[in-house]
């Protein structure tokens, strides 16, 4: 006896296990999250339907707007600096002949470290008494400076730390894109008398656009959710100078134990992540 099944049904059967996982790990939690965001779930009062009150609470909270502003500045700076540095690193590694494996491995190391560890490393680097940065400034006669106490420099510190962890990823993405460009194009350009800058501008950059967009998208997405580095390095301070949406969510969950408000914050974060997905998705996947 033979069992016949159409290709479409067979395809569905094969993808069924993955669909179950998607449902259990993404669809169900998403709906559960939405559900909780409409509840008064503060682990103190009885749980009841609360309508839009959780959203109202966060939208009138100046801490929410401060965290949103910080997130925007943070993501823009991290993404920009990561892209700029990643471009330089990728082009340098692409040209490297001797020791390329060694240097590629070295550049990947920051990416391999847990983000909290990276935060703690930078906390030590910036320590005004025992950190190497101030050791150098004192040796140069410039005195000590407490980077993490000044809101402006604290912001720069967390941005630099985050960039340090993300540059390897961006470098890998751009490098992969560069290596997919045919060497013939570069050879032809050189024959036509193009200099390095022109080659970069008219060949490397445009033909690597999709990879770069993808890298920018991922870094933007992940940096918008950053908690670990900031938590380890500054705790969101001083006075909320480095406090992002991730910190706002963390505090409402672990400190205030307010699951309803936390869910509402998550929904807002999901919202702006979806906006990024649609914008970047359009540019990455459109036919040219």
């Amino acid at each position: 006896m033979t069992f016949k099944i159409s290709d479409a049904k067979f395809g569905f059967l094969l993808s069924f296990p993955a669909l179950i996982l998607v449902f259990l790990l993404i669809i169900y939690p998403l709906f559960h999250l939405l559900h909780i965001s409409f509840l008064r779930y503060d682990n103190y009062n009885p749980v009841i339907f609360w309508g839009l009150n959780n959203f109202r609470f966060i939208f009138v909270d100046d801490v929410f707007w401060k965290s949103l502003e910080n997130t925007f500045v943070y993501c823009t700076a991290v993404t920009g600096l990561t892209l700029f540095t990643g471009l330089i690193m990728a082009h340098s590694l692409n040209r490297l002949i001797r020791g390329s494996t060694f240097f590629r491995t070295l550049f990947i190391l920051p990416w391999a470290l847990p983000l909290v560890i990276s935060g703690l490393i930078f906390q030590w680097i910036f320590d005004p008494t025992y950190g190497p940065l101030n050791y150098v400034t004192r040796a140069l006669g410039l005195g000590s400076y407490n980077v993490l106490v000044d809101p402006a420099t604290a912001k720069i510190a967390v941005i630099l730390c985050d960039c340090w962890t993300r540059i390897p990823f961006m470098t890998v993405i751009i490098l992969a894109g560069l290596q997919s460009i045919s060497e013939d194009l570069y050879s032809a350009a050189k024959v036509d008398g193009a200099d390095s800058l022109s080659i970069f501008r008219y060949i490397s950059l445009p033909l690597n656009k999709r990879a770069m967009l993808f890298g920018v998208f991922i870094v933007l997405l992940f940096s918008s959710r950053t908690v670990d580095i900031i938590y380890a390095l500054t705790g969101g301070g001083p006075a909320k100078a480095t406090y992002t949406m991730g910190n706002y969510l963390w505090e409402n969950l672990f400190l205030n134990l307010d699951f309803g408000v936390t869910a509402a914050i998550s929904v807002v974060m999901l919202g702006y992540c979806m906006v990024l997905v649609f914008i970047f998705g359009y540019f990455i996947f459109r036919r040219e």
């Binding site: 503060d42 682990n43 103190y44 005004p128 008494t129 005195g143 000590s144 407490n146 993490l148 106490v149 000044d150 809101p151 500054t234 705790g235 301070g237 001083p238 006075a239 909320k240 505090e251 969950l253 672990f254 400190l255 205030n256 134990l257 307010d258």
Partner: protein, 455 residues
């Protein structure tokens, strides 16, 4: 288990060697281990490990501990997810986390082990931190009152008298700061204290000053926070002056009280306010101050500014509480541990080996407390933790000061969701310290904002 057999509970707890209650073996049959969370690294909690070992020796129940820096964040995960594998949690933010966990019904009530005859053995105020809406939820663990530490040789060299109130301390620290700059280094300060923003800022910075001067941060009748009292304003301003006038390092703004007191231990400050448990550590782990540190009780006035309440001492502790989601056998074993840990035998280790304070009155009035310490177990614990063995004190160091502090203890616990208000207050203080707002503006805005949260 029969808590009053083979002897009345009070006698069992106060015996030189703890006597477990009758029926305990049957009650805990089949319990493979107890898992307990611990706040911070165990290296600083040697007495905790010693007590775990003694409990295991007496009952045969092994204890597995898990350490976290921000324990209550992890505790929340275990409790909210009803994890049956974590049996006892140690709460570090007692004033806020305990009430919220209890309100959420995540903690096990233990009224049966806190009969009136047992409660009489403990400093009454200290039982507040394990009580919520009339029910008892755990065991106070160990207390962390704070003392004022200073360097006597520096005061002498700088020609500064030992201060007797906070205004005098400010002036003394200011003068010593100038002396330090000239004689020791630019990076040595007059005062060091952890002012990191967050809930602990209220506990560790403000209440330490307020309670001894007879002020209270929290009005128990209205459940509101009082930012408008003369004492609160004086304390708020006092800390601001320490930072703005460069008497304390600006780094204190982002440091915990442990980090900041550590600076004192490293010879970077003349005065500090720190936990009593730092005392034994200064004698062993901080070479810079060995033999040159003195501790005094927190002062009782701000140069005349006092409050309307009885002068007390700020008190906080890391209590032990039972996870309500565990099975009955493990609950019985957990209650057995709580019973052991509140005994004089366990408290002797906390008070003498680690320098913590005990909620048990007899820990200070016992005729021969050092005799209760098992130094072989202490040495074993020190080896295991890779640290030095604490000094073998023959009596409680600074006993009178510490007994007075424990007797005068004032414990405050707040309504659930107080954390939001406390963080807001400390954030505004930080803005003032950074110069973004004046002290008065920051205080006014903080008061306005916490009213929105219901405080």
């Amino acid at each position: 288990m029969d808590w009053d057999k083979p002897k009345p509970a009070a006698e069992r707890i106060l015996a030189d060697e703890w006597i477990p209650p009758e029926g305990w073996e049957e009650a805990v049959k089949g319990v493979d281990k107890l898992v307990i969370t611990n706040c911070g690294g165990m290296k600083g909690d040697i007495a905790t490990l010693v007590n775990f070992k003694i409990f295991t020796k007496r009952t045969g129940i092994p204890i597995e501990y898990v350490v976290y820096y921000e324990t209550d964040d992890q505790n929340m995960v275990y409790l909210a997810s009803k994890d049956p594998n974590i049996h006892i949690i140690q709460i570090s933010r007692n004033a806020t986390s305990f009430t919220h966990f209890a309100a959420a019904s995540w903690l096990q009530k233990v009224n049966e082990i806190w009969t009136p005859s047992i409660r009489k053995l403990y400093f009454p105020e200290e039982l507040k931190g394990i009580t919520y809406e009339g029910d008892f939820y755990g065991e106070p663990g160990v207390g962390f009152p704070s003392l004022i530490y200073y360097r006597p040789s520096w005061l002498k060299a700088a020609g500064v008298d030992v201060p007797t109130n906070y205004e005098e301390l400010y002036k003394a620290a200011k003068k010593i700061r100038e002396w330090c700059k000239t004689n020791i280094g630019e990076d040595v300060y007059g005062f060091s204290f952890g002012m990191q923003s967050g809930t602990v800022w209220i506990d560790d910075a403000m209440r330490i000053l307020l309670t001894p001067i007879g002020e209270r941060f929290h009005d128990p009748d209205t459940e509101k926070f009082r930012l408008d009292t003369p004492g609160f304003k004086a304390a708020w301003d006092w800390y601001l002056r320490m930072i703005k006038e460069d008497i304390a390092p600006k780094a204190n703004i982002t440091q915990t009280h442990i980090q900041a007191t550590g600076l004192f231990g490293m010879g970077k400050a003349a005065f500090s306010i720190g936990m009593a448990s730092f005392g034994p550590r200064f004698d062993v782990d901080f070479p810079a101050v060995i033999g040159d540190w003195v501790a005094v009780a927190p002062f009782t006035s701000f140069d005349g500014v006092t409050g309307p309440y009885t002068r007390g001492s700020y008190y906080d502790y890391d209590g032990y509480y039972i996870n309500a989601a565990i099975d009955d056998k493990h609950k019985a074993a957990a209650m057995l541990f709580l019973d052991f840990h509140r005994s004089i035998e366990a408290m002797a280790n906390e008070v003498l080996v680690e320098g913590n304070e005990s909620p048990l009155v007899d820990a200070y009035e016992h005729p021969n407390l050092p005799r209760l310490i098992h130094w072989d177990i202490v040495e074993e614990a020190a080896r295991e933790l890779g640290r030095s063995v604490p000094p073998k004190y023959t009596e409680i160091p600074y006993k009178d000061v510490r007994l007075a502090t424990a007797k005068a203890a004032v414990m405050e616990t707040y309504l659930p969701a107080a954390a939001r208000a406390m963080t807001t207050i400390s954030d505004y203080w930080t803005k003032a310290a950074l110069g973004e707002l004046s002290g008065e503006e920051a205080l006014a805005k903080a008061d306005e904002k916490i009213a929105i949260y219901g405080f």
